[in-house]
């Protein structure tokens, strides 16, 4: 019995040990990649708590005492931008979901002349890159008298979000069993009621996905607000607002970086709350080609 020590380990133990040892290179590599990935953000955080002397003294590590005042100072300048982003992106996403669910339901469940043709017409818009339309869309908005109003942002954003939203929503509706709708039709419901009371509640996860993708897109959009709302500072969303903010606070390092951090928080919060919805939506299997 004592000679067991000199025997080789059973096969499973050997395999397990080999796996664990082999794994460490992978972990090392991943950590090696993740550290430089995250360090800039960590540095941002550290820098946001410094006052200028601390900044010039040490660039990369945390300095004590922490100057929370940087945050209260930056918040005043930066919060209007956050508010504008929330309003503009929020109204946009509601509009996108409204219009797109109507259209997607029609494409999915309806049967009318020209249905597929119209659908391909919509899909073909995916081929048109934004770069081609920027200038002309600006002139259009100008001619409609919408420059420097919130509608200059919201209306084009709603129209821009349609194609992808319709695509996703239609794909979802296509996979809903017909019987659910049949029984409602037999009960005398008209199509609109069916959409409202049956299709939409079912589609909540996929609508969540559409909402998240849409909000992320409009939230980060710099060019369009820059071009349409330039002369109305009260409407500045976060991207343009930040350009002003950076100009004003350059070399006032602590509050500058505090502002950057503050402006990142809403998205972070949004992400935390919506990731479960997002995953559930994707897992619902509606996104198929």
């Amino acid at each position: 019995m004592g000679s067991l020590k000199h025997q080789t380990l059973p096969l499973q133990r050997r395999m397990a040990l080999r796996m664990r040892r082999g794994d460490s290179w992978v972990h090392l590599a991943m950590i090696g990649l993740l550290i430089p990935t995250f360090y800039p953000f960590v540095a941002l955080l550290f820098l946001s708590f410094k006052d200028n002397p601390q900044f010039y003294h040490n660039r990369w590590l945390l300095s004590f005492p922490l100057h929370f005042g940087n945050y209260t100072y930056a918040v005043k300048t930066v919060s209007p931008y956050i508010l504008n982003s929330i309003i503009s992106s929020g109204v946009t996403v509601v509009g996108v979901l409204l219009l797109a669910s109507l259209a997607a339901y029609a494409f999915s469940r309806g049967d009318f002349p020209g249905k597929e043709g119209l659908f391909y017409l919509i899909l073909s818009l995916l081929m048109v890159p934004g770069i081609l339309t920027l200038i002309a869309r600006f002139i259009l908005v100008k001619q409609l008298g919408l420059l420097n109003t919130r509608w200059a942002l919201i209306l084009p954003w709603i129209s821009g979000g349609q194609v992808f939203a319709i695509f996703l929503l239609r794909s979802f509706f296509d996979h809903v069993p017909e019987d659910l709708f049949e029984s409602a039709r037999l009960d005398g419901a008209n199509e609109f009621q069916i959409l409202l009371q049956i299709a939409l509640p079912l589609a909540r996860p996929i609508m969540g996905v559409v909402a998240i993708l849409n909000i992320t897109g409009t939230w980060n959009d710099l060019i369009w607000p820059l071009v349409t709302v330039m002369n109305n500072q009260t409407l500045y969303t976060i991207p343009i607002g930040l350009t002003l903010f950076r100009q004003a606070f350059w070399t006032n390092w602590g509050p500058l970086f505090a502002g950057y951090v503050i402006v990142s928080i809403p998205m972070l919060v949004f992400f935390v709350f919506s990731s479960k919805l997002f995953i559930r939506g994707i897992a619902s299997g509606a996104i198929k080609m």
Partner: protein
């Protein structure tokens, strides 16, 4: 008469075939469902590109126009030295950074690394960590990297100085020779953030979708490590790779926010990209017609590159 013929005779004349117009009127409620969408699309999505195509042949300041035929295009490719200088810039960014680094090398590396982790809990953690930087607004990331490469106070030069590598210190964005390269360096190590962060996750999902049978067969055949990656993994996720590369190219050709925000195309034209040139021509000099012409050229370039990518990146191997 046969039973079938009897039935046909009985039903003949009972169902009237509707004309197209009658069919449309009968189904009119569906068109109402589509109405809001199409109105918004017609106004903001169909009209502008058509207007752009039209005005590319005019001198236009947004109010008055004056037909000039192909003059814009002639000017663009012969006399507009800024435009001509911007083309190699965007190609360098596109080929080196977007294609090779952000959409091929780094994401495949990361996807393979995570794929080869035995314990799923670690794999999940790493995936989560990759997603987190996507939450930070693009502007913050740009300004953060602008600061990192700030010549006097930025992290890059400070770190180099502290490590005794003063020789490597540079003006970064303010140095005409270094500015474009600095854009290549932004977002080091290029595995997360914005669109870049999606690629490893998508490739990983593709790898996880490879059936065990194939993985085992490969192992039995002796294909391990790099050989397995090259001969088995990559062909099987070629579909995802194609998609990410094409999307990356399309985005890179159109995007100019980093260049606008950090260097405004400078110093000189060192970091000018065609889309930024278009933006400036249209919105700073009110040369809307010329800008539309540049937009048109970019559109055709995108079509061309997309077509080439689809054709020449080998199709995903089916199993």
């Amino acid at each position: 008469m046969t039973a079938i013929a009897k039935k046909r005779a009985a039903t003949r004349g009972r169902v009237k075939k509707r004309s197209l117009l009658q069919e449309i009127w009968h189904k009119k409620h569906w068109y109402l469902f589509l109405l809001p969408t199409f109105v918004s699309l017609l106004i903001f999505q169909y009209y502008p590109p058509l207007s752009a195509l039209y005005h590319a042949f005019f001198r236009w300041d947004g109010v008055t126009k004056h037909f000039v035929g192909l003059a814009h295009f002639r000017y663009m490719f012969t006399e507009d030295w800024r435009f001509l200088a911007s083309i190699p810039n965007v190609f360098i960014l596109m080929v080196v950074k977007t294609i090779f680094v952000s959409r091929l090398f780094m994401p495949i590396l990361v996807a393979e690394l995570i794929y080869n982790i035995k314990r799923p809990r670690w794999a999940y953690t790493y995936r989560l960590l990759l997603v987190i930087p996507m939450v930070v607004p693009m502007m913050v990331i740009l300004y953060l990297w602008e600061f990192i490469f700030e010549p006097n106070f930025g992290l890059a030069n400070s770190l180099l100085g502290a490590a005794g590598l003063e020789k490597l210190q540079s003006g970064w964005f303010s140095n005409p020779k270094m500015a474009l390269n600095t854009f290549l360096l932004v977002n080091f190590p290029w595995i997360a953030g914005g669109g870049t962060g999606l690629a490893p996750l998508i490739y990983l999902a593709g790898l996880l979708g490879i059936p065990d049978a194939i993985v085992d067969a490969a192992r039995i055949d002796g294909a391990t490590g790099l050989r397995r990656i090259w001969h088995v993994d990559l062909p099987l996720i070629m579909g995802q790779i194609k998609a990410m590369v094409v999307l990356g190219v399309i985005g890179r050709l159109q995007g100019y926010a980093p260049q606008l925000i950090i260097t405004d195309g400078g110093p000189g034209v060192a970091t000018l990209v065609p889309s930024l040139h278009m933006y400036k021509q249209a919105f700073m000099y009110a040369k809307m017609g010329y800008g539309s012409a540049i937009g048109l050229v970019l559109f055709l370039l995108i079509l061309l590159l997309t077509f080439i990518s689809m054709k020449y990146l080998r199709s995903s191997v089916e199993y």
